[in-house]
């Protein structure tokens, strides 16, 4: 029998019997197709890896599930790929867990699975094992996806403390992902062209291999945005950062929407950006190298490292004032009027 994709997920599928088996077989196994998944065990047996292992996990609970520039599926793959890549690893294998709410349209599930397969292919990683659970209606929010990833650190790159005068590079405009989501939220249906920057960064990061020695730390600024990453680094490494507002790239529509809602793009999530702290003398070379990559064309130096001081992260504003850049407190919420 064929799966009728016009239908919805129901509890028969969730019971783990034939219906579930058929769904996994016809949809997940077919789309993710690779030799490890084909083993169909409760685990994937993987070949020995050449280097230290990097292991990462993240759960995706985004709403809406489909947005301009991506969907929860591509996000779940790219997010974990980027977490591994920003740690200096080459991402190899991914495990995917689905928690689906009863009543969820099968057509949407198929779209999400296809999108994951495509993202994995682009990022050159394999989805090697997985799990699917169905929860009763009202106990989930459509679909949640967890992805865990394994990568290998082939050379000996390890994060090191930023030094005074080091510079911070980012590969382009900030805030696109968060604003693409926000503009599609219920009640905020702004007609806008903002598209998520959702992308796998491993090949961009891999292209920087010749400069590895001069890269101190890397991180993808997702939830909490650029400000969260800088504040975390500042606290952990006991240094301070000064952003130059003039250097920050914020796309016009993101800026406009932020202004209307009273948001600060520094706090808004990105899904295709990486921030690097690099030695001052190599910053320009690294930046131009990044510009050669399709995901790095708008790379730029946005901040510098100062010695530890009381205010950990600050920004020189366009007007020459200096202000603190704090962590985001709670969720950013639209202003009332």
């Amino acid at each position: 029998m064929k799966i009728n994709y016009k239908g919805n997920i129901d509890l028969t599928i969730g019971a783990g019997g034939r219906a579930m088996n058929q769904l996994i077989h016809d949809l997940m196994l077919a789309e993710f197709d690779n030799e490890f998944l084909a083993q169909q065990g409760d685990q994937a047996i993987l070949p020995p890896a050449n280097g230290k292992l990097a292991f990462s996990t993240d759960s995706y609970v985004v709403s809406p599930l489909f947005f301009n520039g991506g969907d929860i599926g591509s996000l779940a793959i790219n997010g974990t790929v980027n977490d591994l890549a920003a740690g200096g690893a080459t991402p190899l294998y991914i495990a995917a867990g689905f928690i689906i709410e009863e009543g969820f349209p099968l057509a949407q599930l198929r779209e999400i699975v296809k999108s994951m397969a495509k993202a994995a292919k682009t990022a050159n990683v394999k989805i090697v094992t997985g799990d699917t659970k169905v929860v009763e209606k009202g106990k989930g929010d459509g679909i949640f996806i967890n992805t865990s990833g394994i990568g290998v650190v082939e050379n000996d790159w390890v994060a090191t403390s930023p030094q005074t005068d080091d510079l911070v590079i980012i590969n382009g405009a900030i805030g696109d992902h968060g604003m693409a989501i926000m503009s599609k939220r219920q009640g905020l249906n702004f007609a806008s062209d903002i598209s998520s920057d959702c992308a796998a960064l491993n090949s961009l990061i891999a292209s920087l291999a010749p400069y590895q020695k001069h890269i101190r730390i890397m991180r993808d600024p997702t939830r909490g945005g650029v400000s969260a990453v800088l504040n975390e680094w500042a606290t952990f490494y006991n240094c301070s950062f000064e952003i130059d507002e003039e250097k920050l790239l914020v796309n016009e529509s993101v800026r406009g929407l932020s202004e209307i809602l009273g948001f600060d793009p520094l706090h808004i999530a990105n899904e295709g950006k990486v921030m690097l702290v690099v030695a001052k003398d190599y910053a320009d070379e690294i930046c131009s190298l990044m510009k050669n990559h399709p995901l790095g064309q708008e790379s730029r130096i946005i901040a510098k490292v100062n010695p530890a001081s009381q205010v950990k992260v600050s920004m020189k504003t366009l007007f020459g004032g200096l202000r603190r850049v704090d962590w985001l407190n709670g969720e950013q919420l639209p202003r009332i009027c």
């Binding site: 202004e259 020459g320 004032g321 200096l322 202000r323 407190n329 969720e331 009332i336």
Partner: protein, 367 residues
Amino acid sequence: MKYIDEFRNSQVAKKLIENIQRKINPERKYNLMEFCGGHTHAIHRYGINQILPANIKLIHGPGCPVCVLPIPRIDQAIWLANQPDVILCSYADMLRVPGDKQDSLLKAKARGAQIQIVYSVLDALEIAKNQSDKMIIFFAIGFETTTPPTAHAILEAKKMGLDNFKVFCNHVLTPVAMTAILDDNEVNIDGFIGPSHVSIIVGSDAYREVAQEYQKPVVIAGFEPLDVLQSIEYLIDLINENKPDIINQYTRAVNPEGNLKAQEIIARVLEKRQQFSWRGLGQIAKSGLKIRQEYAHFDAEVYYNLPEFQSDDVKSCECPQILRGIKEPKDCKLFGKACTPENPMGACMVSSEGACAAAFQYSLISR
């Protein structure tokens, strides 16, 4: 959205600052109150407070609806949320505002009360349409900006015969609050940076009383940083010339008479209360709005026979002084220590437009 860049140009900013420096009389102090939290936010976010001459003092006024709602009204909202079969719809900011004994809607929600975050009253109306087995109460707050949509929603609900939609009305009036601040002897203000969004509705003429009877100039300013700088320059001119006029800097959105259609809808559905209590400012006559008798069917206060609560601000919280410009956030013992945006003790720390939240988030003072 092209216009935004023009209002952030750093060259123009330099020019404006030079003008201001040239124009000020070094012998005197200029106490300027920005009524609106949106301006407070812009001033801190762009570091405008640091580039102005030292004798210009910017005072953060009560212009954020989250900051001025008194604790008993929060307690009433929590009470409403706890009624059986109720879904209380609220703007997100309100969820964190502390009520009596640091309780909040957020905590009530965690205990099981049905509270739904909405971005506008129309979302609440939509929920009422779709969930006829529940009573949907909209927690309406805000100045003149958010009032017309509330009034409009009540008219819509009436048209549709929606019995399960109620409004807990807490709308307040801006010009009245300005005069109330000026009536306070402790307060020392030379002029106002007037609200932007509010003025789109009420119009620049609404500040006649402030300007003429109280002899305080008002410059209505947009929210962009250059708007704010230019308005400060205009205010300095007016103060120097002793001219208590109204200047409309925000001409791209505000006109003298305001939005007449919105005013008409408000007047049709809502009327002034005899008294309304403001956090920090106390009772102010004719400063709040309630739902007219004709629409009482949609009034949560009437429908539920809402109990009164007696609760006070946290003892050492200086919000009342801050909202009147007598003290600054850093003068509060709790600032940045017991009171942070994650755990606000007073309302000024809740909304990102509150004076304490803006100071905490953006300023370089230690905390």
